[in-house]
């Protein structure tokens, strides 16, 4: 057993683990419907590969990773894709996003799959296997695991996070008790991928049974040690666990790999073993359902995509007694307002708390600067300072007080005697910092584009000027040359005038008619334009009237003029239409008649299929068909006529 170091701060909330860790993991039966959000992980959403109506088998790939940081998605059971639509996400925003909906067929039929022997394949193949299984961190954050296994720097120590420090949650505890072999197999695969680093499994001392089972399973295995750490929240935070197990601190803005460390959750190790040894992708997980309102509190093996409402029904959660339904633990989780959301890859707990367990939304008081929050902050921040800055929206000051280092553990809010929802302030501040950053970048981009455009406009103007000058010089030179070559030619000005006259005459005789199609369109556009102008001026007039502006009179005249113009444009348009024989009204009528006749035919044909008096209906159909044909002919003749007219106009 390895040595452990202390970390700053931390709290000891009531553990409340006994409610759920006394019974074995119960597999939940396949629910009727599974809803799979395309983005269950950190990174780009997966790309949907199937269509509505497709039949899928358990374990079949239904959405593929897009880009490096992304994860595949597989069908958790066999069935039919009934929708790919927006559904509410298991997210504090309760926003909607694209989800694949599978109606299960109850067969739970596997797609062809087979495991591989990790010792007989090279690393690339092994990594590919883990990547294609769509495994993401099972501890809560949901970062694609394969990315973390591809560390560029040398990894000396692999840390397996089995601390499970958050109250109520016992999913990892039960997993270790029941699947220690698989977990160790998974750890060995990870070690193989990272060139056999030493491995430390960090586990809190409140899980005596799990520790015993794990130590038992590890006898005779070299390179993997169990480190029993004191129970203190949040020892399971990645940075805190690293500090406890190695005494090293991850630098600001750095990642554990900078120290030659990498951290994975026990659940992830189990998922990796399943993927490699059995060929099974990540399609289910262990989720704790607990709280006073859950009659059958315990751990459940749940298919990803199971609706929280189904899981609650199976665990006999009394909805009336549930004051708040929390996804995740009581310290870091978020309240679900909608029960029709899915269990996703990172859902480790559903907490159906009664009013006695989690106090209802409390009024909070002013900060009394007691400093308790500072004492417990595991990130060694100044929470009350951050709170003032976040509240005053002084985000740059918050940033310079290392807001980014806050792990949102909630320890500060838990001890705060004024019950200030501190973490929500930090989350708000972090969100604003992110948006502000994005906005600054957008602004910078816009400025560049603006400046480029200005420059372009100036360049264009200069270029035009240059060209004009060059042309003038060339023309003068040409004139001079001409005059030199032919000194007794007639006066050039007189010649030019004559040319212009000629052109004018030619133009007068050959009436250049626009093609009628274009003329028609032009008239239509003109009508639309005058209409818009009229609308705008009328609006200006109403505004002016409302604000008692002195320009009302001139605006009134403009509007009057525009009304006249708009009428004229409309009249011109309809005149043109009449001239061409294009009577839109008439054409529409003809179309309607034809369509009606067609409908009658179809209706009769339909009734023929079911009717007994076939002969009579057939006769009716013949009549209706003739009517339809006549109507169609009338329409056609009309259209012919108008085309002919248009051509005539063109020729004249």
């Amino acid at each position: 057993m390895g040595r452990v170091w202390p970390f700053h701060g931390g709290v000891h909330p009531p553990e409340n683990k006994l409610q759920s860790n006394q019974s074995a993991i119960v597999p939940m039966p396949v629910p009727k419907q599974l809803v799979l959000p395309l983005n269950q992980h950190i990174g780009a959403p997966a790309k949907c590969l199937i269509e509505v109506g497709t039949k899928v088998l358990k374990g079949q790939l239904i959405a593929s990773a897009q880009g490096f940081v992304s994860a595949n998605l597989h069908a958790p059971s066999s069935g039919i894709i009934t929708a790919i639509e927006e559904r509410t996400l298991p997210h504090p925003s309760a926003l909607m996003d694209l989800c694949i909906v599978i109606d299960t067929d109850g067969q739970d039929q596997w797609v062809d799959h087979a495991g591989i022997d990790p010792l007989s394949v090279h690393k690339g193949k092994l990594l590919q296997c883990i990547r294609s299984a769509g495994i993401t961190g099972m501890g809560g954050a949901g970062f694609p695991s394969a990315v973390k296994l591809q560390a560029k720097s040398k990894i000396n120590t692999l840390i397996i996070n089995a601390a499970e420090c958050e109250p109520y949650i016992t999913a990892d505890d039960r997993l270790i008790r029941e699947y220690s072999e698989q977990i160790i197999a998974g750890i060995q695969i990870i070690r193989q991928l990272l060139d056999q680093p030493a491995c430390i499994i960090g586990i809190e001392d409140n899980k005596a049974e799990a520790i015993a089972i794990l130590s038992q399973a590890l006898t005779g295995i070299d390179g993997i040690a169990v480190a029993v750490i004191p129970t203190k929240y949040p020892s399971g935070g990645e940075k805190q666990l690293i500090q406890i197990l190695t005494g090293q601190q991850v630098p600001h803005g750095g990642i554990p790999a900078d120290l030659g460390l990498v951290c994975h959750n026990v659940g992830t190790a189990k998922a990796i073993a399943d993927a490699v040894l059995l060929g099974q992708p990540l399609i289910s997980r262990v989720t704790t359902v607990t709280g006073k309102a859950a009659a059958k509190a315990g751990n459940y093996q749940v298919l990803i995509g199971t609706q929280v409402s189904d899981l609650m029904a199976f665990a006999e959660v009394d909805l009336a007694a549930t004051s708040r339904l929390v996804m995740g633990g009581p310290m870091m989780g978020f309240t679900l307002t909608d029960h029709q959301v899915s269990v996703v890859k990172s859902t480790n707990c559903i907490l159906a708390s009664s009013e006695l367990e989690l106090a209802p939304v409390a009024d909070h008081h002013a900060c009394i600067r007691c400093g308790q929050c500072e004492v417990v902050c595991p990130a060694e921040l100044l929470p009350q300072q951050l709170f003032w800055f976040a509240k005053a929206e002084e985000f740059d000051k918050a940033q310079s007080h290392n807001l980014a280092d806050c792990i949102e553990c909630g320890a500060c809010a838990w001890v705060c005697p004024s019950q200030i929802p501190l973490v929500q302030y930090y989350r708000f501040a972090k969100g604003r910092v992110k948006t502000l950053h994005a906005e600054t970048q957008l602004a910078e981009h816009a400025r560049l584009r603006f400046e480029t455009r200005e420059q372009r406009l100036i360049d264009e103007k200069l270029a035009k000027e240059e060209k004009r000058k060059a042309r003038a010089v060339a023309a003068a030179a040409a004139q001079a040359a001409k005059r030199a070559a032919n000194p007794d030619a007639e006066d050039p000005i007189a010649a030019a005038l004559a040319r212009v006259n000629q052109q004018k005459q030619a133009a007068a005789t050959s009436f250049t008619a626009e093609p009628p199609e274009d003329a028609y369109k032009a008239l239509k556009t003109a009508a639309a334009i005058t209409r818009t102008k009229l609308k705008k001026s009328s609006k200006a007039l109403t505004d002016a009237l409302a604000s008692g502006h002195e320009q009302v009179e001139s605006l009134q005249t403009t509007v009057d003029q525009l009304t006249l113009k708009a009428d004229a444009a409309k009249a011109a348009l309809s005149a043109y239409e009449t001239k061409l024989g294009l009577d839109p009204e008439h054409e529409k009528q003809l179309q309607v008649t034809a369509a009606k006749a067609g409908a009658v035919v179809r209706k009769l044909e339909k009734s023929l299929a079911t009717a007994e008096d076939a002969a009579a209906i057939e006769a009716q159909i013949v009549i209706a068909k003739t009517a339809h044909a006549t109507a169609n002919q009338a329409l056609e003749t009309y259209q012919h006529k108008s085309t002919a007219l248009q051509q005539q106009t063109q020729e004249s």
Binding site: E357, A362, A413, W414, Q424, A443, T525
Partner: protein, 199 residues
């Protein structure tokens, strides 16, 4: 007497040498543009909408440097005014309503089947965010649009809509808790208190 000439000569020489150094430094370390204008321009939202009465953000930045009030930019709103006040060490004043009010950011969308391809909106767009050609359908490159509203007015058939930007799960973030300072005497929590419990 000789020593007097000598002293004058030395001083004159020194003056020449330092003058040369200063002259050289003035050219070598010349500051391009006006740094304060750049700093102001960096704080403006770069929407380029002209609501401040200037043809773009940079001209307004220049005007501010010359003493114009800092509260003429509606897209920037209170936060920009605050930042400008900090930079220039002046009092932050409320937004001048004469130039407009702070509104949610919008993006232009062209109703494409109604567009007649007149290119008027392209000419109006300060950041070249509209794509199109004469008599062809036009469209807005959403990622480039600053929402300045300048293309709406010139459109002869009124087919451009300014629509607010949608919140996606990726762009969503927490809002600060509604601040209730009440005097109700809740017992200090005995059970763990979720951070969101105060929502």
């Amino acid at each position: 007497m000789q020593s007097l000439y000598f002293a004058i000569m030395v001083l004159a020489l020194l003056a020449l040498v330092f003058g040369a150094i200063l002259g050289f430094a003035a050219i070598r370390f010349k500051v391009d543009g006006d740094p304060i204008v750049d700093q102001i321009d960096n704080l403006l939202p770069q929407t380029q909408c002209g609501q401040c009465g200037h043809p773009g953000c940079r001209p307004y930045a220049e005007a501010i440097a010359n003493g114009e009030a800092i509260n003429h930019c509606p897209p920037g709103g209170e936060s920009t005014i605050k930042a400008l006040a900090d930079l220039l060490d002046v009092e932050a004043i409320p937004l001048d309503a004469e130039h407009g009010t702070e509104a949610v950011r919008t993006i232009a969308y062209i109703r494409e089947d109604e567009c007649i391809g007149c290119t008027k909106c392209i000419q109006a767009c300060p950041v070249d965010a509209i794509l199109g050609a004469a008599k062809q359908m036009h469209t807005v490159i959403v990622d480039e649009c600053t929402g300045c509203d300048l293309c709406v007015e010139p459109c002869p058939v009124d087919c451009i809509d300014m629509l607010p930007i949608e919140v996606t799960p990726a762009s969503w973030h927490w809002q600060p808790p509604t601040d209730i300072i009440a005097t109700s005497n809740h017992a200090h929590h005995a059970a763990p208190q979720g951070d969101v419990s105060h929502g």
